[in-house]
Symmetry: C2
Subunit: 215 residues, 2 copies
């Protein structure tokens, strides 16, 4: 995850995500209603949580702490730290007993989605999740078109393999339109990805055996 | 989570958990083989991961970032940040398709486990996880005895309720011995909590419906 802040700016996160870092300063101007994909997903997750539909949270941004001071009678202050690359995906949680795990990325590219948006260790993590019967996917937004897609991890892995075998380093928008599932956008929930999970995996209240191939 | 570091000490995390913060400086001397409970669980999770038994990670420590500098030609430096209280539990992941969620705490107390080790919002989170069919529990270590217990979240919630109703603010060791499950300790895996999950929930490769009461 590529994070940027204006120097010395007082950091005040959206409370909706318990102080998670947002990227509005960076890409707000390119995303719908000035919200980044991350902000929209955080609000969507809060919607699911409050309505007791699912418990899905964004993981805290991993930080490598180098120096911490302990002023008397006040909280410890981290004086030197660095952003670390996430080793897993950003979002996970539970829906109807099943493990849900996904990554969300947006591109300003109009014709394809660059695979460099994902790190090899994230791909490795997705493979492991699928192997263990979790529901794993990526949410892709084409900011230029305000289109958001649900791409199953198994399909992302296929495109990643194509790249590894010398193929193109991106997924064309046409391929995404054919293989991925467009996510209905609304006010509440903003990005209703659970409707796609229901459609694809047909989860009932009691946990069903995994589908061949998909899980 | 109460984190403490020696002032200005260069922070070098155990790589086993992708740079997670450890508390060895604080409590290492009280825990088995000089390892904290967190370190033992991280090594256990790595063991499960490498043997493709489960994918369970510790979440990054939540940090409230206040100031970030961007030196030219080098990585962004966080100049001011503060430790934030975790809003969920520390560990989650997937085992045989099921969502696994737990918190790990140790006490030097010999007769009881103080409930102040848990935060109300963590309790709230555990309730939500159970409600959504996840497997949720706490791992409790009595450092004085080198004993580690697996207490189901539903049972922790009962003790929490007792406190809320004016009852004692801790769980007696005798109660834990009666209600919780002792976790076999070894070299590999260090703290084999999955053996307890298998015993309690009897997960097969395909995900079974949840048990009455437990989930």
């Amino acid at each position: 995850m590529n994070l940027h802040y204006p120097n010395g700016r007082k950091y005040s996160p959206l409370e909706i995500n318990k102080g998670e870092i947002t990227k509005s300063e960076k890409s707000g101007s390119f995303s719908n209603r000035g919200m980044t994909l991350e902000e929209d997903i955080n609000i969507t997750n809060l919607y699911y949580l409050e309505r007791e539909m699912a418990v899905i949270h964004k993981k805290p941004t991993p930080v490598q702490i180098v120096q911490v001071d302990y002023p008397r009678r006040s909280a410890a202050v981290i004086k030197e730290a660095y952003f670390k690359q996430a080793s897993t995906t950003d979002y996970n949680g539970v829906y109807k007993g099943k493990y849900i795990d996904f990554e969300a990325k947006e591109t300003q590219n109009r014709t394809s989605f660059p695979l460099k948006n994902f790190h090899p260790h994230q791909i490795h993590h997705m493979k492991a999740i699928l192997q263990h019967g979790g529901i794993c996917f990526v949410i892709l937004r084409f900011t230029a078109f305000e289109e958001v897609f649900f791409l199953e991890a198994k399909d992302l892995l296929t495109f990643w393999e194509r790249m590894d075998n010398g193929g193109r380093k991106s997924i064309t928008k046409i391929e995404i339109e054919q293989i991925a599932h467009i996510i209905p956008l609304g006010f509440q929930p903003r990005i209703d990805y659970i409707s796609i999970i229901d459609k694809l995996y047909g989860l009932s209240s009691s946990c069903k055996p995994r589908k061949e191939g998909t899980l």
